[in-house]
């Protein structure tokens, strides 16, 4: 029979404090968002008082719901546009950059590596201001608006696939490629037929993560936006939040959250399938997020 003191001092006890901290953190982290999602289904205009359940802000309200308000459509469309274009360019660029830097020894590649790391860590507003100055002072073929936003996003995100791929290359090692070259392949062929397929999981993971990050980006797209048709959802939320937002804003953010969740879930499932037989790839979500 154990008393409460013995239970407290049980040497095989679970780490209660850590569990408490973790659970507390998760609640603190996710609860406000769940509340915001809940209020997107609010029947009234308030965002703090529950007035009943309805889909009013999704499609019910004639002028201000997400379905009917053209400005909200534009914002959603711009977000998805930026997400797709930026991701399509960033990932291949970052992947070949990582492969090249990894194999090429010398001062230039290590300098380039340093530059890439700095672009990873730099506060976003610095890059945004620098690009704004560049575009408004030089007669470049780029104007403020979608093209400028895409360029900024690529520059900011290129480090993501680069870092993930390099980490994976470090894990794989040189052996498969060298074996292929021993068997007669040229470096290019070895790359194409051995290395890159082994990198697919990392490439795929970085695609999904870059996409999720880009559709959420705020600072860069705000500085580099042209007129209001190039303002994505995050900027709309910021602009409207300082005035008098309706729950339509919550609805918009919930839709975006659903899109990001969908993208990541699909990505993870595909990742699992791809790495079914591969023993060098980690299996869990951590590996998917690039941390294995």
């Amino acid at each position: 029979m154990r008393g409460p003191v013995a239970w407290w001092n049980d040497p095989w006890r679970p780490p209660r404090v850590l569990v408490a901290v973790t659970v507390g953190y998760l609640v603190w982290s996710l609860l406000p968002v769940l509340i915001a999602v809940m209020f997107s289904f609010n029947d009234g205009k308030s965002r703090t008082t529950w007035q009943g359940f309805s889909f009013r802000w999704y499609w019910g309200d004639e002028t201000r719901s997400v379905w009917h308000d053209a400005t909200l459509h534009q914002a959603l469309w711009q977000t998805l546009k930026l997400g797709v274009i930026a991701t399509l360019i960033t990932v291949p660029l970052g992947v070949i950059f990582a492969i090249g830097i990894d194999r090429w020894r010398g001062r230039l590649p290590s300098g380039a590596n340093m530059l890439m790391l700095v672009s990873f860590v730099i506060p976003e507003v610095l890059l945004a201001v620098a690009l704004l100055f560049a575009i408004t002072s030089l007669a470049l073929p780029i104007r403020l608006g979608t093209s400028a936003q895409v360029i900024g996003l690529i520059t900011f995100q290129i480090a993501y696939p680069a870092v993930l791929v390099r980490a994976r290359l470090a894990t794989i090692g040189n052996q498969y490629e060298e074996a292929a070259m021993d068997l007669g392949a040229s470096p290019m062929q070895a790359l194409r037929r051995v290395t890159v397929p082994m990198l697919f999981p990392a490439i795929f993971a970085s695609t999904v993560l870059v996409f999720a990050d880009v559709i959420d980006n705020f600072v860069l797209v705000r500085y580099l936006s042209g007129n209001s048709s190039t303002e994505p959802v995050s900027v709309k939320i910021y602009n409207t939040a300082r005035a008098a937002p309706t729950p339509a804003l919550n609805a918009l953010a919930t839709l975006l959250l659903a899109a990001a969740l969908l993208a990541v879930t699909v990505g993870y499932l595909v990742y699992r399938r791809m790495t079914r037989g591969d023993h060098t790839a980690g299996k869990g979500i951590a590996a998917f997020a690039g941390e294995a």
């Binding site: 973790t22 951590a286 941390e291």
Partner: protein
């Protein structure tokens, strides 16, 4: 077999010891992109900071030739960033907020990462998914959620007054440094948890068990074995989270809107489009860039040297 096989081609053998031109070719697009869209705009910033100002509109006129640079705007800012100057308080405040927020982030992230990495067993997958979730939720949405909760009639005040037991009417959203710091922590702590998780995941269990076997209790083995082993991870995670925090301006903007909590990011944001002040914004950009890049350089040098020295 050996007879029919083609003889080893000298070019191939040489190709493996000499650098194949393939790798630079692959890296070049990325390098050129970074040079053109990352380094070159920094030069434009310099040209604007040390440039002229249009006499009527007071918009910046960049001066490209370094020999013609005019340091007036830069010295204007420098002369005011001392503790007594007009911008001094904002810079000091930024440093203090980021420092406190980083420490808080670490205090929260480390236990969570440690638990999920080492002790959570079969819950690891779900917990990790929950930890990664904030990355996919719009940052603006998370901040907005907090703005709602912290309003004078919001849930935080309602819960604190426990249904009328206490009379709690704290004005959370008007210039409270505590709220801004907590906002920073809330926004950036997910970025710290993942690298910590990755690092802690790789700690060799055998070393930790050896420490316990040799007689150390939980606390001692943590303090004297675990912590030193994961110091590089902690440093990397802190850098990754805290350097971006230096440029944050929208947290203070959304949660406070008061000059009392203005950070250097607010200084930049307010002056970039303001006539006559763009050069000053550029000067702040340069200062924050230095504050970001120097720790990075130092960190890379230290880790590189560690690699060199290890046998």
């Amino acid at each position: 077999m050996a007879v029919t096989e083609t003889p080893p081609q000298p070019a191939k053998v040489a190709g493996r010891t000499r650098i194949s031109p393939l790798w630079p070719a692959l890296a070049m697009p990325g390098i050129i992109w970074l040079l053109v869209f990352f380094l070159a705009p920094m030069y434009v910033v310099l040209a604007i900071v040390f440039g002229q100002v249009d006499p009527i509109f007071r918009t910046p006129v960049p001066v490209w030739n370094p020999l013609q640079w005019d340091p007036t705007q830069f010295t204007y800012v420098l002369s005011r960033i001392g503790p007594g100057g007009a911008y001094g308080p904002a810079l000091i405040r930024t440093g203090v907020y980021v420092l406190i927020a980083s420490v808080l982030c670490l205090l929260i992230a480390f236990p969570v990462a440690y638990y999920v990495a080492r002790l959570s067993g079969r819950w690891a997958g779900i917990l990790l998914a929950a930890l990664i979730a904030p990355f996919w939720i719009s940052y603006m949405m998370r901040m907005l959620a907090w703005v709602n909760l912290l309003q004078d009639d919001g849930w935080v005040n309602r819960i604190a007054s426990m249904g009328g037991l206490f009379d709690v009417h704290v004005h959370w959203l008007t210039g409270q440094p505590v709220v801004v710091v907590l906002g920073l922590v809330y926004g950036y702590v997910p970025y710290m948890i993942l690298p910590l998780y990755a690092g802690l995941d790789r700690l060799p269990q055998s070393t930790l068990e050896a420490a316990r076997d040799l007689g150390a209790n939980r606390a001692a083995s943590f303090w004297r074995v675990t912590l030193p082993m994961c110091r590089p991870t902690i440093v990397a995670a802190v850098l990754l989270t805290c350097l971006p925090m230096l440029g944050d301006y929208f947290t203070s903007d959304m949660l406070s809107a008061s000059p009392k909590t203005a950070m250097v990011g607010n200084l930049i944001n307010d002056s970039v489009q303001s006539p006559g002040q763009t050069g000053q914004a550029g000067a702040f950009v340069m200062l924050v860039l230095l504050a970001t890049v120097l720790p990075m350089f130092y960190y890379v040098r230290v880790t590189a040297r560690a690699d060199e020295v290890s046998t």
